[in-house]
Every structure is written in structure tokens, then in C-alpha cells.
């Protein structure tokens, strides 16, 4: 039986600086605990479809933006791969499409992940904010512990010290 509390960690990769901070922390945890790390980026297909049906987008725009979001995802997943490689941590990656929190929670269940790591959740200004934030939804619906990462300087020094 494994002595590590986190055999498999799922990292939700966001196309932002906060996403890379979370990635550094996930890599540090995976290295320290000898865990498998799985990074997932989700193209928010639901939001694209809703903007198309609300007539905000014309079809050509939706297609262009979806393609660019996929490119963003690939770019950020590559950046996480580089960070993991620098610390000798093996990383599996996935680029999914759909409802972000649903894809993350389902993937974590499918992988048997014992921890989901997400970026910092911004302070909500209203109950509406809290309810509709993807990070909040992952916290509410995940079947395993969820860790939200904050503190850029702290995380960088932890990552650099490995």
C-alpha cells in the first residue's frame, strides 16, 4: 500500500498567471509526495455555445475563438510540462472541452485523483459571484479534497527550492 496521501493529483490549468502559480505548487507537491500529476485544461465550450445562441457571436466568431482557446490551452499545458520537466516530475496532460467544473470533477473521479489543485479564487462581491465561479463549483462538487493555491512569492520560492 502506498504511503503517499496523494497517489494522483489533478491540476486544473487555467490560461493565466494564477494558473501557473497553481502549477508550480502542484509540481512541488507531486515531487515531495511522489505523486502522479495530471494537468487538465478545459475549453469552455458551454460558454461559447451560449454566446452563439444569445446572438452575441456569429458562427465564424465562435469557431475562431474556440480555436484560439484551444491554442491557449496547448500553450499553457506546454508551459506546465516545461515546469514539471525542470523538476523531474512526470506529467500527463489533457485538453478537454465542455463545462469547466464538470470536466474537472469527472476527470478527477475517472483518474481516482486524491487531490484537485486549482488557482486562486477571487474574492466574491456577491452570492452570484460565488455561485457562478468555476473554481467555487469545483470546490462544491468535487468528490476528493480540493486545494486552492495563493501566494505567488511563497509558491515561487517553494518551487525554486526543489
Amino acid at each position: 500500500m502506498s504511503t503517499s496521501p496523494f497517489e494522483t493529483i489533478l491540476l486544473h490549468v487555467e490560461a493565466s498567471e494564477a494558473g501557473l502559480v497553481a502549477a508550480r505548487y502542484a509540481i512541488a507537491l507531486a515531487k515531495v509526495y511522489g505523486a502522479r500529476l495530471h494537468a487538465v485544461y478545459v475549453v469552455n465550450e458551454k460558454m461559447l455555445e451560449e454566446l452563439l445562441s444569445a446572438k452575441v457571436f456569429v458562427e465564424e466568431e465562435e469557431v475562431d475563438l474556440e480555436r484560439d482557446l484551444e491554442e491557449d490551452g496547448r500553450r499553457y499545458l506546454s508551459a506546465v510540462e516545461r515546469l514539471a520537466g525542470e523538476k523531474g516530475v512526470e506529467l500527463a496532460t489533457d485538453l478537454a472541452k465542455g463545462v469547466v467544473h464538470r470536466e474537472i470533477v469527472d476527470k478527477a473521479t475517472q483518474l481516482g485523483a486524491r487531490l484537485i489543485i486549482i488557482g486562486e479564487i477571487e474574492e466574491p462581491m456577491s452570492r452570484r459571484d460565488a455561485f457562478f465561479d468555476e473554481g467555487e463549483m469545483i470546490l462544491r462538487l468535487a468528490k476528493c479534497p480540493v486545494l486552492t493555491v495563493k501566494g505567488d512569492d511563497l509558491v515561487r520560492s517553494l518551487y525554486d527550492s526543489l
Partner: protein, 154 residues
């Protein structure tokens, strides 16, 4: 919350008196160009009008969202025009638009651009918000109301 970050009080015009959607777009572009030295007024207007030519961004419920990804701006940015009388934006429901949001982003800002457009579309589902914003008597009041809006997608 994203909207009150990209639409600052100096980019809100209350009491729009324009007669058509083309001049509204130019007015709102002026607000952006006046406060952002990195923006290029002509390019952002050209790209916004090019998008508008492909289909009206009047989404109904009194809201229009002219928008574009354009080299005319270097960051995600927005402006809001409010018209109590309403402006013909050739909206889907045939009704005049009272809230006109100009949302612009450079090509690289796909994710935040999507969130910003989703947040504006979300306002269209909330009659109370539309009414409060349309009645806002100052940019500060409008900003405060925008602070309550986030994507309603999940």
C-alpha cells in the same frame, strides 16, 4: 466582477444622444481612445464595425454588445453607453437598446474576452439589473451595479 474592472467610470456615458448605432460605437470608441494612449481609435472602430456588418450585436432586452478582437487595443477594455430613450441597434427583438457595451480585446486575450462577453450577456437575463443600469444617474452608480455581475454560465 470582470466588468467593473474593464469598464472604468471615465468610460461610461450616461444620456447618450446618438441617433444610430454607428455613431454610438464611435462615441464609445472615443471614450476608450481618450483614456488609453495605447489604443488606436481608427483600427478599433474599423474592426468593431466590420463585426457589426456580419450581424447586429443587439441581443434583445435593451442590450447591445458591439465587440471585436482588434489590434486597436493592447488589453481587454470596455465602455458603456446608457440611453433612456433607446437607440435602434437592429436588435433581434426589434426593440431599442438602452445599454450599449463596447467590449474590445487583443487577439491573445481569448479567455478573459469570453468571460467579459458572457458577463454582459448575463445582464440580459436579469430585468432588475437592466432596469437599475438604465436608470443609473452617474458613472459611479453604474460601476457599482456592474460590480455585481459575473458570468452566469455554469
Amino acid at each position: 466582477m470582470i466588468l467593473d474592472r474593464i469598464i472604468t467610470r471615465d468610460r461610461i456615458k450616461i444620456g447618450l444622444s446618438d441617433l444610430d448605432k454607428w455613431t454610438v460605437i464611435e462615441d464609445l470608441a472615443d471614450l476608450i481612445a481618450a483614456g488609453d494612449e495605447n489604443s488606436d481609435r481608427e483600427t478599433l472602430i474599423e474592426d468593431t464595425l466590420e463585426r457589426e456588418d456580419k450581424g447586429s450585436t443587439g441581443i434583445g432586452s435593451g442590450i447591445a454588445i458591439p465587440h471585436a478582437r482588434t489590434a486597436g487595443v493592447t488589453d481587454l477594455i470596455g465602455a458603456l453607453g446608457i440611453s433612456k430613450a433607446g437607440i435602434d441597434f437592429e436588435a433581434e427583438d426589434g426593440q431599442p437598446c438602452h445599454l450599449i457595451f463596447l467590449i474590445l480585446a487583443p487577439a491573445k486575450e481569448s479567455t478573459r474576452y469570453l468571460k467579459a462577453l458572457s458577463a454582459v450577456a448575463c445582464i440580459g437575463k436579469d430585468e432588475g439589473l437592466i432596469s437599475r443600469l438604465t436608470s443609473a444617474s452617474s458613472p459611479d452608480e453604474a460601476i457599482s451595479i456592474l460590480g455585481e455581475v459575473e458570468s452566469c454560465n455554469p
